[in-house]
Symmetry: C2
Subunit: 329 residues, 2 copies
């Protein structure tokens, strides 16, 4: 900056004014300074700026895993929105989803150069009273039920689950089975509850719950269990990957989808349309979740006020070929 000032024959303060687009600089001076900046390839030093401003214009994202599509897409949405609003993204991976690791990550947070924090957790850890986010920086949480303490953004799991079950019931199925995700997952529990409530509201039997761990393999295992149940005509699977495994197990067991058994998934992965048969599923807008997280976080940064509460992103049913009316007896 000093070099630019010297070359342009002005003071460094004037360079600063030009650099930040402040008014009160005569156009001729501005030109000269800009020319000098170009010639010297001047770039403001963000460390010094951050020191001055007390802000890094950066959002920290704490997450456990990028292995699943949802987290990746959410992160992509966060990155896009943050960039559009002039903020950077700092990743804070937590290797193990243990309480100690989470607390460690939160501890490091305070010394990190971050104006706000977005936490992407698919597990209940954050709900435990012992794991608290440090105060100070604004926080937005994805997919948790800590809505009483922090702003939470989430897909509308309940409506999604209800849509799935209602779709199957409307086709004439007597009842709907469910393959849930792991118990530690908040999303899984929401979908499970919606399934149970929708069945109950329709006066249908509620079969026993099968569990998977989100993986296609666990869906395959669930499918094998289902083969032993002759009465099954409809299954709501808590995510598309498990639905894939489940459909393959059914196929191997000689049960056709959708002629013998209808299957509905959840997520609407890019591949779902290419499954055999193309999967009827609940679409989630992960990018929108990411966008809303950033909006919420930056609202807090700019307006100061943190208001706990849950923002829900709508889901919708995508009907493909994996559902049909139940077989005639």
């Amino acid at each position: 900056m000093a070099d630019v000032a010297k070359l342009a024959g002005v003071s460094s303060q004037t360079v600063s004014r030009v650099s930040n687009g402040h008014p009160g600089v005569i156009p001729a001076t501005r030109e000269v300074v800009q020319a000098a900046m170009r010639e010297l390839g001047y770039r403001p030093n963000s460390a010094a700026r951050a020191l001055k401003w007390g802000s890094f214009r950066t959002i920290g994202v704490i997450l456990f895993s990028l292995a699943n599509v949802g987290n990746s897409k959410t992160l992509e949405g966060i990155a896009a929105e943050a960039t559009a609003r002039g903020y950077g993204i700092t990743l804070i991976p937590v290797a193990m989803p243990t309480e100690a690791a989470v607390i460690g990550a939160f501890g490091r947070l305070e010394e990190l150069a971050v104006d706000a924090v977005i936490v992407i957790m698919e597990i209940h850890l954050l709900d435990a009273a012992t794991v608290g986010l440090p105060p100070g920086a604004p926080v937005v949480v994805v997919d948790s039920n800590a809505g009483d303490r922090y702003p939470v953004v989430d897909t509308d799991q309940s409506t999604g689950g209800r849509l799935a079950v209602e779709h199957l019931l409307s086709l004439g199925h007597e009842t709907v089975w469910h393959v849930a995700g792991p118990e530690e997952s908040f999303a899984s529990e929401r979908r499970l509850a919606a399934w149970r409530e929708t069945l109950a509201a329709a006066g249908k039997d509620v079969p026993r719950v099968l569990r998977g761990d989100w993986s296609a393999e666990s869906g395959y295992a669930a499918g094998q269990q289902l083969l032993a149940e002759e009465s099954v005509t409809a299954v709501f699977v808590a995510n598309d990957q498990m639905a894939l495994g489940l459909m393959n197990a059914l196929h191997e067991g000689g049960r056709r989808v959708p002629e013998d058994v209808s299957v509905v998934g959840f997520d609407d992965l890019p591949d779902s349309a290419a499954y055999l048969p193309p999967l009827t599923t609940i679409h989630q807008d992960f990018a929108e979740v990411g966008r809303l997280c950033v909006d919420g976080a930056l609202d807090q940064v700019e307006n100061g006020a943190s208001q706990p509460g849950v923002t829900l992103v709508p889901t919708r049913l995508v009907v493909r070929k994996s559902t049909a009316a139940p077989p005639k007896r």
Copy 2:
């Protein structure tokens, strides 16, 4: 820091020494200072540290998309290794893979607080002479052929492609068809070349190339084309998602996998083992790619020397149920 110094009855310099674990502080003093730090909840201000050090201990990652599993997993590997080595990760998403957008991202780079840059590009843009990374910060590139200008880390696409084709030939197939990825993709071209060379080396016919865009849908379309070719007994598909679509098209067309047609994919996605049939594929170690990127970048940061060249991460064949000997005529 001044408050801590006052409370501990020492100078701020001593606090700094304790904070950074410097030697030459008597244990008793250290204790007092640490107690004061705890009491006041002192955290070093990273902006000021960065200003002093001229470094944020941060690596910037430029990427186009997290939509595909490979990029996500690579990023995860990068994040894990960087964190382990005490560096942070700043994400720099590039919305559109156009030259202008890339140049824009590189421009912003210089003013960003980043010690090194990792570029994850699956397209040829970086090879164009007009798109040059700014000098200064160390750079590591994933998946490009700019190895003459920058250090490049990549999966060993060639060996992977060769393994796939050799596996099929060893089962007795007359030749192997190929469904390639988009032409802009460097990885796709490498796999295509390996396929062609391996066939040529074995003295086999080289069928015409089918193209997809990595998506399962494009694999389905390629599969439909393949149905018109009665002589096809073996297909090497450039990624698992396309293989999924292709197998479904074959199934719909009445061609059984692997009895009539053998299929080999590339990637070894978590779901591949749950496809119908479980997919024989080439395993890529994305996490290792990420790790090596960070190692390469930090070597440059710490040792200064940037040496262009390509580091290859081995691939291996994973044999499952989608390949078998060709049908008897």
